[in-house]
Amino acid sequence: MEHGSFKDNSHATFTLGEEDHTLANAVRFVLNQDPRVTVGAYTIPHPSLEKVNIRVQTTGDPAKEVFKDACQELMQMNRHVRSVFDKAVTEYKAEQERKEKKAAEELKRQRELFGSMDIESN
């Protein structure tokens, strides 16, 4: 829901229902990275109501477009986070497997070495 004025569409407040700090703070951060934005802020009118008001004031561009761009950018960043994370996890798992294989081989080697020195079969 957008609350603005018909004459000047560069200032608007967007009300999101069923949202809280989780999304609002992230959107606010991305919004403030945009150089077109002069005011990017959010408030929660009352903690019992699940509503968030996000205020956007720009240097001329329509606030709705800037807000949309911020959301798109947020989605991009999330995808990037996911891909970097997945890569790091796969690398870690591969590293662990390599270490385990090395340890198993080392153990086998030691067993063979000491197995040939059987004390009891003397």
Partner: protein
């Protein structure tokens, strides 16, 4: 959409470079404010300096790094470098409250002669973590019939025989019923097939995911109740999908937290006796380096292990020489899963949920 030129402009743009933006505070406020980069008296592991957003979008895609420190089936510790606190907190909140899980919601009690009263027993059953992938199930709303796509049915029937010692009821006694509920509902017409409390059209163990691995609770040694000789519990529990926001039993993590990577700097040479004192206060972080000729020096060996205890504040000499703070945008994340999904999958799902939230907002605009 943002063009390449605009992206480059945004990357090099610094609001403080504009001619009319004042630098720092106005003079009448500056005089009374003590500026320090990090005040050790107030430094703690969750303090994020908020003067200016230090993560510029243009650099985010290049600078963002993830380092996995440890990863097991239940726990995970990893570092996220180059991200803002807003994101780290968003992921933490989603991990705790908005990732779906399966948990027991309805408990149909046929017989309970134990000392644990019905509602307390039902409450305990709800808190039992269930090792079932919630992505394979759908939500059960008020109008839906419980069927094999949205319900998991467990049965618990334990009787402590007479002349035997007290018996413990553990989660290993919960039996999965892949064919659905076995308790019959009272129905008017006696000619029709008796209805149970769920309407499974096919058995759940015919599905490929559950064919050879039955659904069980994540830990089989959780104590549910204790029975004295002659006492019996007979009940059926239905588990449905939900999120932590509704009730904490649906939270997939024991907990998820983050702390900032500590920044420990020695502002001067800490030698000999002072070094000994420092290492005595924080042996995990500092170490003594021998410089030859009997002189010793303290160095910061493992800043990561610093717990922000600030023990050095009580020492008049050391407080001048040690600077304690947090590294910006370096988050050490810990996720402890309860068993439904491994922690790395949980984090990926959390990021997907944040994306889905953005999509919902975009659709409404």
């Amino acid at each position: 959409m943002v063009t390449k030129e605009e992206k480059r402009f945004a990357k090099n743009f610094n609001i403080n470079n504009l001619p009319d933006v004042p630098n720092g505070l106005p003079p009448h406020l500056q005089q009374t404010r003590v500026v320090s980069n990090s005040n050790p008296l107030t430094a703690n592991a969750s303090y994020v300096p908020c003067m200016g957003d230090s993560v510029k979008l243009g650099n985010f895609y290049e600078n963002f790094k993830v380092d996995v420190i440890s990863l097991t089936e239940r726990d995970m510790e990893f570092d996220m470098i180059g991200i803002d606190a807003a994101f780290a907190n968003a992921f933490r909140r989603i991990l705790i409250a908005e990732l779906p899980t399966m948990a027991i919601e309805k408990v149909l009690i046929a017989n309970n002669t134990s000392v644990i009263i019905d509602e307390v027993l039902a409450h305990r059953m709800g808190l039992i973590p269930i090792a079932a992938d919630p992505r394979l199930f759908e939500y059960l709303s008020v109008n839906d019939e419980p069927n094999e796509k949205n319900t998991i049915v467990f049965k618990l029937h334990v009787k402590c025989p007479k002349n035997k010692p007290r018996e413990k009821v553990l989660t290993s006694d919960l039996k999965w019923l892949p064919h659905g509920s076995e308790l019959l509902r009272e129905s008017g017409g006696s000619t029709s097939k008796p209805k149970t409390y769920t309407s499974f059209s096919c058995s759940q163990d015919s599905l490929p995911e559950f064919a050879n691995n039955p659904i069980t609770p994540s830990d089989l040694d959780i104590l549910i109740a204790k029975l004295a000789p002659g006492q019996e519990i007979e009940l059926e529990a239905h588990a449905v999908k939900g999120i932590g926001k509704t009730h904490a039993k649906w939270s997939p993590v024991a907990t998820a937290w983050y702390r900032m990577h500590p920044k420990v700097c020695l502002l001067g040479e800490v030698e000999d006796e002072l070094a000994e004192r420092l290492v005595k206060i924080c042996p995990n972080v500092f170490d003594i380096e021998d410089m030859g000729k009997g002189k010793k020096r303290a160095i910061v060996a493992q800043p990561r292990k610093c717990t922000m205890g600030k023990g050095f504040i009580r020492d008049d000499d050391l407080i001048e020489l040690v600077d304690l703070g947090s590294v910006e945008n370096h988050f050490i994340f810990n996720i402890e899963s309860t068993g439904s999904l491994p922690p790395d999958v949980l984090f990926t799902e959390a990021v997907k949920i944040l994306e889905a939230k953005c999509e919902t907002v975009l659709k409404e605009l």
